[in-house]
């Protein structure tokens, strides 16, 4: 670690001013679960840290008008324990889906500190949050000196640790659509250990019609790729099929053929990560089916 100045703004405007002042040497900090490790190893050494902990607006959750607004500093724990979404009357099952995904990330110590927005902004391919937020088609509200803009998930996540955030900007809200209609969700991942981040992950969102046929769907792959990646080919193949009769094995073969893994770690190569996709998409599909 290197010495830094620690700023504790009380409001969003103040926070924005703080991060905009000397943007190159300033880093916002929420739960710190990635940043602290980088600071300790001196991988990063910002001269100023702007804590978002005191900015109440960034920790709020609200619902209505077909969407749920999740403050970026909401912790995994608040979601996993059911606290964050307790007052939200979600018409789709999206809050339940996010709760399931988030309750299964890392261990309790990490979940107590880590924030949803922090994971989104860190944009690690192995993280579950970017994949889950992509499959629910979340929007990202980005606040800066010139006001607030909204960025779609597929534009927000740009690459390994790369997002659409510009210097001096802050993620101010994550907007999760709460769609009408019969949506179902599934997520599956595999890491090396129980608490590890994913080597590969697959998320699935499906809307079915009155005859349980797939009307509309999103399949998103994470872990093995630089940013959450839609499998459009598989999505097209899935449309029109009765959800209960989809041959998971065929979907898996297609997914493994469609997705080109971009990332291999020192130990687990791209081929292995690709080989996990059929099992993962089958598990995600089973979860989505069970929900219905």
């Amino acid at each position: 670690m290197r010495p830094f100045e620690y700023l504790t703004p009380a409001g969003l405007e103040e926070a924005l001013e703080a991060v905009a002042e000397r943007p190159e040497e300033t880093a916002p900090i929420a739960g710190g679960q990635s940043l602290l490790l980088e600071l300790k190893s001196r991988e990063r050494a910002p001269a100023r840290l702007v804590s978002l902990a005191g900015v109440e607006a960034l920790g709020a959750v609200s619902g209505g008008h077909g969407e749920i607004r999740v403050g970026p500093t909401v912790t995994y724990r608040a979601i996993a324990d059911g606290e964050a979404f307790a007052a939200i009357a979600s018409r789709s099952a999206v809050t339940g889906f996010l709760t399931r995904v988030i309750a299964n990330i890392a261990d309790r110590a990490v979940r107590t500190m880590a924030t949803v927005g922090g994971a989104a902004c860190q944009a690690e391919p192995a993280f579950d949050i970017p994949v889950a937020l992509t499959v629910v088609d979340a929007g990202f509200e980005v606040a800066g000196a010139s006001g607030t803009r909204r960025v779609a998930a597929h534009e927000f996540f740009r690459g390994v640790k790369q997002t659409a955030l510009e210097q001096g900007e802050l993620l101010s809200a994550i907007v999760v659509p709460d769609p009408a209609g019969s949506w179902r969700w599934g997520f599956a991942k595999q890491g090396m250990r129980a608490h590890d981040a994913a080597l590969s992950s697959v998320a699935l969102a499906v809307r079915v019609d009155g005859e349980s046929r797939v009307e509309c769907c999103r399949i998103v792959v994470g872990g093995a790729v630089k940013r959450p990646s839609r499998a459009y080919g598989c999505e097209t193949w899935l449309i029109g099929r009765p959800i209960g009769e989809v041959e998971a094995e065929k979907l898996g073969e297609r997914l493994a053929a469609e997705v080109v893994p971009e990332l291999g770690g020192a130990r687990f190569g791209r081929e292995y990560r690709r080989s996990l996709l059929p099992a993962l998409v089958r598990r995600a599909l089973e979860e989505a089916r069970d929900e219905g």
Binding site: R193, A194, A256, R267, Y272, P278, A279
Partner: protein, 817 residues
Amino acid sequence: MSVAADRATGESLIGRSLPRREDLALLTGTAVFVDDMRPAGLLHARILRSPHAHARIRRIDLEPARRLPGVVDVFCGADVERSVEPWGDLTQDILTGDRIAFARDKAVYQGQEVAVAVAETKWQAEDAIEAIEVDYEPLEPLVDPEQAMQPDAPVIQDGVDYEGGVGNAYDASYRIRVGDFEFARDEADVVVRARFTTGCSGAAALEPHACLADYNPSSGKLTFHSATQMVHPLRDGLSKALHLPRTQVRVVAPFVGGGFGSKGDVFPWEVITAVASIRTGRPVRCVLSRREVFETVPGRGRQVRYAELAMRADGTITAYGERVIFACGGVSAWGNQILRIGTQIGMLPYAIPNIHVDGFAVHTNTGPAGPVRGFGVPEAIFAKEQLVDMAATELGLDPVEVRLRNVLHGDDCPTVTPLGQRVDSTSIDRCLERAAEAIDRSEAEDVGVGFAVCMKYTSARHPSLDSDLASVRIVLETDGTVSVFSGDSPHGQGHGTTVAQVVADALGVGVEKVRVTSSDTETCPFSLGTWGSRGGAILGTAARMAAERVRAKLIELAAHILETAPEELEVAEDRVRFVGMPGTGLFIQNLVLLAAYATHQLPEGFEPGPIQAQATYDTPTERERSDGTGNLSPTYSAAAHAARVEVDRETGRWRVLDYVMAHDTGVIINPLIVEGQHQGAFLHGYAMVFGEEVRWGEDGAVANAGFKEYFAPSAADLPSLHPTIEVPAPSTVIPGGQKGAGESATAPVAATIANALQAATGVRFCSLPIMPDDVKRALVESERRGAPIVYPRDMPDYDGPTEWPEPEEFDDLELID
């Protein structure tokens, strides 16, 4: 309430699960580790380490670091050349010259010490080492030990002369020659062979290595706190390296957060920190980062075994042969000892009549290899116990029946194996039966059951040491409490509890009256330290001997006062009383008071003053003979393990559905502590298979120097264990019957799981760890070939006694069609 032995009911303190006394401080966070100490004027040392695995050091410029704020001292090897000498020569046959504080002309592994900065804060010291300029000339790194053994390989330690060394094989002299190996092999009905490799798992102790040196310039005395497993050898090593008299060096270990072998040495950072304190006249602390621990703290070291086993049609093992190549890293440390002891003890629990082993301890440009739980035995068992299964399969025999035919039997003990190991007692045969009964052997898809057996030495007369001792001093205080000064250096074993049980039992006092002090060279008598499963048996015996000497004095004194014969008296209920008569006699407290304050009442010839005694127990063991034979251990604990494992063919993940451990630990002093040892030892064995491995790239750089990518299993990754099945066969050599407890559950785990994986998949996994991508690759390759394979490399047909053919490499596999 007093917890004491009850002579009336015959109830002893031995065998009682008393809660560990150490736990209150640990659970309440009041335990003080080296990093918790706050001496006035403390300075912090950070060490600059070589980023290269192999490089000439052309120039070191310390000046930029010296100018930085808060920096008190900066130095490197050239500055201490005359004041610090190489160490390691207190042991025999670890011929060194390569145990040095700093790399001077050449760095031989990534992370080797190059310079140090001492500053007012840790971060100022960190800034300072970043400012040091070093001019390196990178050399070709030798990471693979077999490549390092090639005749044309450059010699890594080119300035040191090793007796018995050839090139990088600094110990090329290890041989076991028992019986007529070639004849037995030629006569055998089946011979199986494979090439086995084991990975370099680290010990991964939670507390990183840390030390605090406090040199007092006015008295010239160095007080040295360290997270060490052996205060006395460390004291002697430091004194010798620094040219200080032993009286001027005091080594103390406060609470130590685990060691598992990895804290049993004299380390460069310890010598450097001591020098820093001497130079600055202030206390200096050095705490290694996790990266430094993975790069530089000795781990298991990679071992390659070309091994073969011969069996008769009836299942009798007739011969075993091995060529062992052990990557010991850039410096020698304990490498060749591990090779020797691990291989020799690894031949048990069988009395194999014909053995032929050639072993080589080889320098490589990797971090040093050193002791990690099991001291080479798990590596040897991994190969041998798989070969037993392979031979049994070829003969169509049951793996349990074959082992039962070959293991030593309790009824035949004491017995001496052809390797010269005198096994005083064992229940390994019954342990195996019990484990086989307890495991579910029913067939299921992708599920397999595996077995392995082992014996583990209980302390040992290492080839490098002609000593296997521990010492204890006991002083009775004038209020009847008992001070025990125990020579060993516990770091999680609970000596404060078990030694107190032994002493309280022998003195007939409540265990709460006994206080055990350990790990301080100033107060505790010389001992070799805590390693090698020696505490309960060796230290426990010394404690018993010292307590019995004190008891004799008490009884002599009481007999005089009571005007009776000593034979009429015994100790119990904090008294010396008439045999079998509660409430009679004299309180021990009164006897001690007499000796201190009323000396005219003492019998003639009775030494006045504190009633005390010191005892040393040195085991009746032998030194290794030149043919590799010898009884290195006083007694041998044993384990039979059984695993039921399921494989997920899609992902390659394997899961232990059930795991059974049946053990012979002899007489157990504290079952609660021993159960903890077994479960912890299992974890270390499991970790070797699961994924723990420090990985060096071809450039000699550590690829995974952190817990994020060093796959230590967490509790959530472990199978739940049954209580261990104990089948005690008390040692007849150790007076109390104890046997070592700390490592016997590590040794068979990898072989047990590998045998189960073979039963589940048909694939013979010969390399550790066995990770999901390995399993997936092996299954895909088996399917492609239409036959089960040996993974990772298939050995083609064997051809000749000494020359092994080149293994066949697989092409890169497409894991999905």
